[in-house]
């Protein structure tokens, strides 16, 4: 599987946020999108996830433009936004019911993605009483309900403790190894190490760069 993201443009009023972002990825690759705050990382991911519309550009997957083939995009793409896309007053189980049918939910909890994320341990806890790590794991659990091949994660480990970060990194690595594609935005060094390619968004354009292991050197490119 291969995706080609080509010439994505987006303006907010007169402000150009994305000005022809282009890159590609193959199955088993993890792509890191980095850049200064407000540079358009989340906008790019939300466009690829179908939340916002691009002013121009295409998102090709195996020959199909996912901006137009919406059903295929929903099938192929899983999206986890930066915040917590959960109903706070309800339990983890209630939230999962929104995304999974009964059988898929019980299978996943028994021996699937939800089990790997450790969500089966806090099914009855209301979201408002969960820790940050639990919420993030549950958010990912909800975002990957369709078992997508392309995973779009917007700062998946922001403000999490080391154990949670490790759990999520493990999950990302596993998805990669199973032949999936991961697109993520991050400021975290441990996640950057997982990435096969890193793109810096600056002035609306994406520039590929090599991560040498130094975040200071990377930040100089912003």
């Amino acid at each position: 599987m291969e995706i080609i993201i080509e010439n994505i443009k987006k303006k907010y009023g007169k402000k150009v946020v994305l000005d022809g972002v282009t890159f590609s990825a193959r199955g088993g690759e993890c792509i890191g999108i980095v850049g200064a705050n407000g540079c358009g990382k989340s906008t790019l991911l939300s466009i690829l996830a179908g939340v916002q519309r691009a002013d121009d550009g295409s998102f090709i997957c195996d020959g199909a433009d996912l901006f137009h083939a919406k059903e295929k995009r929903r099938e192929l793409v899983g999206y986890v936004p930066q915040g917590t896309p959960l109903l706070y007053e309800l339990t983890a189980l209630d939230n999962l019911k929104l995304w999974y049918d009964k059988k898929a939910l019980s299978d996943s909890l028994e021996d699937g993605m939800l089990k790997k994320l450790g969500i089966d341990e806090f099914l009855k806890i209301p979201v408002c009483k969960m820790s940050g790590g639990m919420k993030k794991r549950l958010s990912i659990g909800c975002g990957v309900a369709s078992s997508p091949e392309i995973l779009i994660l917007d700062e998946p480990t922001a403000a999490l403790d080391l154990i949670c970060k490790a759990q999520i990194s493990e999950f990302i690595a596993e998805h990669k190894n199973s032949g999936g594609i991961v697109l993520l935005t991050t400021h975290d060094e441990s996640e950057l190490k997982l990435c096969d390619k890193i793109y810096v968004i600056k002035d609306g354009k994406a520039m590929e760069c090599v991560y040498s292991g130094s975040s200071v050197a990377l930040a100089e490119r912003f």
């Binding site: 907010y12 989340s42 007053e89």
Partner: protein, 408 residues
């Protein structure tokens, strides 16, 4: 499928607001009930007579004339019932609560007053009625001053002059008769006017207008109890739902119906209770039977106000901003549509404009469903408001999400 699931989960979420909604609607209904009871009591008190006794010499012809004057005069003023009694009888009646007060008129009080020597009246009352004292004293003394002293002085002066100029005739008796005629014909003011109850601008009585206005205010305001669940708006969830194929319109529709269902449940519980225990009192108070049309109109109004509530929380951030905006919007809308203040006191232009506000229209719908008049226009306007509020909700969400959902 997801729409149904989302709706059922939202129902589960919004049901948590049910106790708050019930508490607020209960408080508002109690406030309305006590306000209306107070209003009704005031109306009854207006029609009840204050019982006053006059203690004095019944053989005194001047006092008899004065009594006749008082009795005739009071019916057009503060409805004071005045009777002649001796002091013991008056004291007993006062202690038994039959009288509010009694007034002791000294012997030859009127006769002395003719000669400029106005004696003192003794006003006797109980502690509980003391607040009425100033009011009654002022009334009685005004009446006595005007009728017994000023007017009668003129009549008797004419009699004395006639007796002096044309001696040998019974001018005293004639003057007495003239004085009585004067009192009966001239001062009996209730014969020179008629009381007419002016209807309100909607063609119904004040009571129905107050009732429907208060009900609209309650329906609009009680949704504030759902502030807690409405303020926990989640843009990330909206983004994920849209990514999963559920657009903003569908999201808003699910949220609207879930909110409407919970608000309806809360209101139905309270309205059902009120109708069950106070139905007859309310019907007798407003003078109309609350039929099925009326209850349907209540829930149609609620449908529009639920959409308005959703819009308020879509436009604002946080519980305080949302609750305060809704509270002040409710006050302003209800004030300018005659729900809190009689619309007939506003300029005609405003009166007409108020019929096109959501609250004015809801009030009109309730009134017409009580009186059995045409409701199509009201329903049409309310339907426009319903679609407008929902469309604005979708638009606001779309605009916010297009800017990154506040999380960029």
């Amino acid at each position: 499928m997801r729409k149904t699931l989302y709706f059922s989960l939202l129902l589960k979420k919004y049901v948590r607001a049910l106790p708050a909604l019930l508490a607020i609607v209960l408080v508002l209904l109690f406030c309305a009930f006590f306000s209306i009871s107070f209003f009704q009591q005031s109306e009854n008190e207006k029609n009840s007579k204050i019982e006053i006794a006059i203690v004095g010499d019944p053989a005194d012809s001047y006092l008899s004339i004065g009594m006749a004057a008082l009795k005739n005069f009071d019916s057009s003023r503060f409805a004071i019932s005045i009777d002649m009694m001796d002091e013991d009888e008056a004291e007993k009646a006062l202690l038994d609560g039959i009288l509010t007060a009694y007034i002791v008129v000294p012997e030859d009080f009127v006769l002395n007053a003719f000669h400029g020597d106005v004696g003192k009246l003794k006003y006797v009352t109980r502690h509980g009625s003391a607040m009425m004292g100033d009011f009654v004293k002022e009334e009685i003394l005004n009446v006595i001053s005007v009728i017994l002293v000023e007017s009668q002085r003129g009549v008797y002066a004419s009699g004395e002059l006639a007796e002096e100029l044309i001696p040998g005739r019974k001018y005293g008796e004639v003057t007495d008769l003239a004085a009585l005629e004067y009192v009966n014909l001239i001062l009996e003011r209730n014969k020179i006017f008629v009381i007419e109850t002016v209807e309100t601008v909607d063609g119904i009585g004040m009571m129905q207008s107050i009732f429907c206005g208060a009900l609209v205010f309650i329906i609009l305001l009680f949704g504030i109890g759902a502030s807690g669940v409405l303020s926990s708006r989640n843009d990330s969830l909206s983004m994920l739902l849209r990514s999963g194929g559920m657009g903003y319109f569908r999201q808003v529709i699910c949220e609207y119906f879930a909110l409407f269902a919970v608000m309806s449940l809360a209101f139905a519980i309270m309205l059902g209770g009120a109708a069950l225990f106070l139905g007859e009192e309310i019907s007798s108070f407003i003078g109309y039977e609350m039929g099925i049309d009326f209850y349907v109109s209540v829930f149609l109004s609620l449908a529009v106000f639920a959409a308005l509530l959703l819009l308020v929380f879509e436009m604002t951030d946080g519980i305080m901003a949302g609750a305060l905006t809704h509270f002040f919007a409710s006050l302003v809308l209800c004030y300018f549509s005659g729900c809190l203040y009689p619309i007939s006191f506003f300029p005609v232009v405003l009166q007409k404009a108020s019929l096109f506000t959501p609250t004015g229209c809801a009030r009109g719908l309730l009134i017409n469903s009580l009186t059995g008049d045409e409701i199509k226009t009201h329903l049409f306007i309310l339907a426009i408001y319903l679609f407008l509020f929902i469309a604005l909700c979708v638009l606001f969400r779309y605009r916010r999400m297009a800017k990154g959902g506040g999380e960029e």
